[in-house]
């Protein structure tokens, strides 16, 4: 398990691994939206929670199709499936690696983008906390989607179509935490619901994703 995590992280950081793409995309969203919406700080501050969460979600989506497809093409997935490692563990490790190279850096970068979008002061801790709690769900839900389209050539667009609806509850509660936090309202309910979605996804989706991969390899 550890070996797989280290290999995936190494691959992500080596040339062509795609680390930083998601971050650059996230940054791009924060630049593009004000250019489209206009520079009024008041409006930007109001929509900042939503933009930051939508940006993080799309950035996560960007690198999902590589998660299993590359290993499928070069035969590694066959070899992992016949190895003593349980497929659920493989899925979990892959999702963890995805989170470490996208979700976690996105969370770290988010306060800076919040600044650029004029997010009100009280919102920052909730922004970081909600992303920290919510991005693991994005990674594991994404792993499930990627597992479904493993055998499909050029499955990128299909993957987005499958995964985006599954992302909606996470998005709604995550953005709600930040919006309420920014307005100084109590955030407990959406925060707990967000945590519940993450916990539930982490607990159950590895089994569904592993089943999907086994089906694809048949």
């Amino acid at each position: 398990m550890k070996a797989l995590l280290i290999r995936d992280l190494t691959l992500a950081f080596r040339a062509g691994g795609g680390f930083g793409l998601a971050l650059a995309f996230f940054l791009l969203v924060a630049v593009i939206v004000p250019l489209g919406v206009g520079p009024l700080t008041e409006i930007l501050g109001r929509i900042a929670p939503g933009i930051l969460w939508v940006g993080a979600l799309l950035a996560c989506l960007l690198s999902l199709d590589r998660m299993f497809a590359l290993d499928y093409e070069d035969g590694s997935l066959d070899l992992l499936a016949t190895s003593p490692m349980p497929m659920e563990g493989v899925v979990g490790v892959k999702a963890l690696a995805h989170w470490l190279v996208t979700g976690l850096p996105l969370t770290a970068l988010s306060p800076l983008l919040g600044l650029m979008l004029n997010l009100p002061g009280p919102g920052y801790p909730w922004l970081i906390l909600s992303l920290l709690l919510g991005t693991p769900a994005l990674s594991i839900i994404g792993a499930f989607g990627a597992a479904l389209v493993v055998g499909v050539k050029r499955g990128g667009l299909l993957l987005s179509l499958l995964v985006l609806p599954l992302y909606l509850p996470t998005l709604i509660f995550g953005a709600e935490v930040v919006r309420r936090g920014a307005l100084g309202l109590p955030v407990q309910t959406p925060l707990l619901l967000l945590a519940a979605i993450t916990a539930g996804s982490l607990g159950l989706l590895p089994y569904a994703a592993a089943a999907a991969i086994r089906i694809c390899l048949r």
């Binding site: 479904l148 499909v152 985006l164 609806p165 709600e176």
Partner: protein, 242 residues
């Protein structure tokens, strides 16, 4: 003879061959009866005026749009547990029907809301939930289309249907939560059935039954189509090998 024997394609074809004309005729009859009764012979609502007549198409299609997903879920579970091909194909056949009914629910809902909201689209929680349901249907159908091997496609779409059901329910609650306080009272609730009197209620029930029968008819026809295509491709691959 157990019910499961109808999962044999040939037996299913023979049974539905006899059933379809009756079912189809019943469906046309009840749909027309419910809708015509509702459209021509019900009074206007004291609050909503003649827009209440949209009820007789909106509510049945919305009801069946959700029921269709549940039927697909049942079909997927039966396929995963008992490996009956007809069950998987019935789920596949139901998806486009469910999607169109969802679309009808969305369009009629938006049109109904227009005079109240003053706009063609409002992010009313109910409409938003249906929009999300529509996306789930799209994804499910797209996954069926994308995978070549039929058994693999059946397996993967079944897994998607189960996981999707959980997330669809979550989305429903998330949307309710997200929208609270945005339209406070100003929005038209499409859910004011409590004070609907019998005058409206009876034709509505007939229309719902009619839409249900229509759904069943369409799904049966489409399942038969899918079964024929499966047999055709099975024969094809045999010929190719011979």
């Amino acid at each position: 003879m157990s019910l499961w024997e109808y999962a044999n394609p040939a037996r299913f074809m023979r049974l539905t061959e006899r059933m379809l004309p009756v079912l189809g005729a019943l469906a046309v009859l009840t749909v027309l009866m419910g809708v015509i009764w509702g459209f021509f012979f019900t009074p206007d609502d004291y609050k909503q005026g003649s827009t209440a007549k949209i009820l007789y198409i909106h509510v049945p299609s919305a009801t069946m749009a959700v029921s269709a997903w549940f039927m697909m879920l049942a079909g997927s579970l039966i396929w995963l547990v008992r490996r009956h091909h007809v069950s998987a194909l019935a789920a596949k056949a139901a998806a486009p029907v469910g999607m169109v009914l969802t679309l009808i629910g969305l369009v009629t809902g938006a049109i109904w809301g227009q005079p109240m909201w003053g706009t063609w689209w409002a992010w009313d929680p109910r409409l938003t939930s249906f929009l999300i349901l529509f996306l789930f249907y799209l994804g499910y159908i797209a996954l069926w289309e994308a995978i070549e091997d039929p058994d693999t496609a059946a397996d993967l779409t079944s897994v998607l249907c189960i996981v999707g059901s959980v997330f669809a329910v979550l989305s429903r609650y998330a949307v309710n939560f997200w929208n609270q306080g945005l339209h406070q009272g100003a929005s038209l609730s499409l859910d004011e059935k409590e004070n609907v009197s019998d005058v409206f209620w009876i034709p509505l029930v007939i229309a719902i039954v009619g839409f249900g029968l229509m759904f069943a008819t369409l799904v049966l026809v489409r399942t038969r189509t899918e079964i024929r295509l499966r047999r055709a491709s099975a024969l094809m691959s045999r010929q190719r090998r011979a």
